[in-house]
Symmetry: none
Subunit: 190 residues, 4 copies
DNA sequence: GATGAATGAGCCTTCATTCAT
DNA sequence: GATGAATGAAGGCTCATTCAT
């Protein structure tokens, strides 16, 4: 018997990201996605239970990639500020290299599809960053406020700046990222 | 006669928000929206050119409402910090009172539909706030950095905190909002 | 607004019977049926909830027609033998005039679709015949045995003889029907 | 090796009967049948040319089994009445032991698939019974009427009584079968 | 022989929209 | 203005069958 084809799997992933970004979930039909990936619509169902599962698994996979990217060169022994700056830099790199992945995640996480993902699984990918923030609080380096509030200043501004749908004319470059990080740090530091 | 019309108009608006929030753009068909609004699908076309225009106009209308809400009690003569704090408070109030409107806007603005809106028209609703920030920069009260960066710290954290899709367990109350605002202010102030 | 079209309803009914007889339930797709009836597949759904309901309602409607036909010239005051002979004659007439209807019913009632019909509703169409048999038992004209057994000799042989799938070379004519009725009567009479 | 084959063959036969009875020809896909038989869809094609041939051969096989069962303890030297009573008894036994086989045959023979079977081959399985009836006519024990008419009273009532789709609440037991046979005999005897 | 992968064709149904009243 | 009827196109998905191993 034939064996499952890694190349097709990959093509479906890329096709999904591309089409959903260009025309949205509503217009991204299974047959269009299959067409873009150059496989039969029926073949898509060999790799995915249904459309929903295709979209969700695509999201989870990107989140996993993001998690890995964000944690690159993560060194818990360095000062917290440096660690977080590294994280920002990593996010910047990821978004620069994979703007489509990032855009997909943004659209997905604001749609009702987001309710279908196992939140814990996804959050686990970012666990070390969460830990470092908690450590910062304990060490009285970071303000002792609700964790979600801190996260709202550490993660969301970068996301917003990186998202051309929100900051149409903002050019995301190393310099700007450095500047922006300073604001983030001022926000959360004691 | 005129009264009756507005009731239908209103019903369609509410139905659109409700359905899109619950099942997303993809699944929100014209029939379902009309059904939810208790009018015939044909009637919907009396009020809207097509589905796209319905979705976009719903978005613009909410943005207008948000603009008005945000500017409530806006007093340009007060200190900048106080003005911005008022803005945050207003955003908090709006989101608390109209969580569905807010959710619709979030989903919409992260979808390809967002490309169909006249950005300038929407931004105009928030013009006074933009002006106050620019003034703050001139007066050296606010950091002199790219405007988008400032906006990313003034607007997005509240949005994120208010969005249950992002902060599932965060309880948005006056106290938390006050705390969060302090972070925002620390981020942007000189 | 437009009003529902009796002609379309009728065309769908006839198309369903014709196609199902010719190619069976399995091959009778909604679009083939719609095509045969010269309406759009979508139009079929204006008149029927789904394919299943189309098939079931077609069956029930034929059963209703059969019920009426079978009871034609029904005169409870005549001798039981004459009444039953009339019934046989009526069945013969119906089957002769509407062989397609009859064939549809036979196929349907031997398929799992039969589980979807409200048996009581259908049986009610034949109530007077059932009553006459019960009366015959009371009057000691008909054998006092389980009702289903009697029915198996009164109804099924005619059905079998009338069904070309069972009696391929049997010519159903008035004479043969008369002969066959004699056997039925001999079977059930005391 | 040969043994293994027959097990798969057998599994496919049983799976076909089971599924077709439960969900009908329309819904019984090759995949589902293969799944039920716990073999690959491709394997099914090793044993059967296509779906049609699978269904037809399943029918023919059951008919063969029925033929054998019906002729059990057939003794042409006994009185005709006794022979036919034995036949009824055998039918009863077969249906009791293999209700699923029986149901399959009923559904199949009322569907357009029935046109694909070699009628003569199937009828041959029942040849001795046919002969005995013809003999009965010659000996003036049985009414001298069209053979199909006689058959309609000898075979169909038992089939109807045995078929729960027709006689939902009829309990088929030895006593009832005896009673019913008396009616059949009264119908055909001179 | 046996199988899971692969697929074009076709399934049932709903879509966005227009028609006729 | 308001509406249920009407529809071609397209939706997601499964089909019977063949391929490649």
């Amino acid at each position: 018997m034939r064996v499952k084809d890694e190349i097709k799997q990959e093509a479906l992933f890329e096709a999904t990201v591309k089409l959903v970004n260009e025309i949205g979930f509503a217009a991204s039909s299974v047959s269009k996605i299959a067409g873009q990936a150059k496989v039969s619509p029926a073949t898509l169902y060999v790799y995915h239970k249904n459309k929903e599962e295709l979209l969700v698994s695509t999201y989870v996979r990107i989140k996993q990639l993001m998690g890995r990217a964000v944690l690159e060169n993560f060194d818990g022994s360095r000062p917290i500020r440096d660690i977080l700056k590294q994280v920002w830099s990593n996010i910047f790199s990821f978004v620069s290299e994979h703007p489509a992945y990032f855009q997909y995640v943004e659209q997905f996480s604001n749609s009702p599809y987001s309710e279908l993902v196992n939140t814990e699984e996804v959050e686990a990918y970012f666990e070390p960053v969460i830990q470092i923030i908690l450590t910062g609080i304990e060490q009285k380096i970071i303000k002792d406020v609700n964790f979600d509030i801190l996260a709202a200043f550490i993660f969301f501004p970068v996301m917003a700046l990186a998202n051309p749908r929100h900051c149409k004319n903002f050019e995301m470059n190393r310099e700007n990222i450095g500047t922006a990080f300073n604001l983030a740090w001022d926000a959360i530091r004691r």
